[in-house]
Symmetry: C2
Subunit: 121 residues, 2 copies
């Protein structure tokens, strides 16, 4: 259910889904969905812009969200990528904390994460 | 054009595309495509198994290949993943070559690759 009050996590999730699967939407869907999710316009603003009803925008955005979520349910690519991104950030943080005396430990820790990433891919 | 003589690179590419986008095919398409690409059965064998003509199998496999390639042309997710996998392997190789005296260099090299992965994601 899409309401005018946008939840931040929902918006981030929608943006990520759009980033991965957006190219599978039609040009018209992309245009409207981008205005709602990425440019943060209200349903009323988009309705005026597109010359369709507020309800029409609402339905289109909802349908796009469902389509994108449908792709994710089948392919899980966002989930995979979020997990890999998290692990690469961990490697970065380990490198930030590098000190001469703990180099062996660092190498072991990075290898562990790197192996986890390979398994995930 | 699918011929009976399968090219190894083509097969690997098809398997990778199937791994990423296969869930977007129908159950029937998946069944036939798996037999051809993953189980390496011939068109004739699949035709007998499925009770359809050899030409029918040929056309179905060809259509599946085009569908999967179409997804990749739009989403480029296989390309991205292959590149990330390559970089993580580089990190692994650097870790393999770890020696106390070159730890600083190792850390710098890994950070460079890790940053490249983050940019890619």
């Amino acid at each position: 259910m899409i309401s005018e009050v946008k939840d931040m996590n929902e918006i981030l999730e929608q943006a990520l889904l759009y980033d991965f699967y957006g190219e599978l939407l039609t040009d018209h869907q992309k245009e409207v969905y981008e205005q709602f999710v990425l440019e943060d316009l209200s349903l009323g603003e988009i309705a005026r812009e597109e010359g369709i009803s507020r309800q029409g925008v609402h339905d289109l955005v909802k349908r796009c969200s469902q389509t994108l979520k449908g792709y994710e349910e089948k392919l899980h690519l966002v989930e995979k990528f979020v997990s890999v991104r998290e692990k690469v950030k961990q490697i970065d943080e380990l490198l930030d904390g590098y000190e001469k005396e703990n180099a062996e430990e660092l190498v072991a820790d990075i290898r562990k994460i790197s192996d986890e990433i390979i398994e995930e891919l």
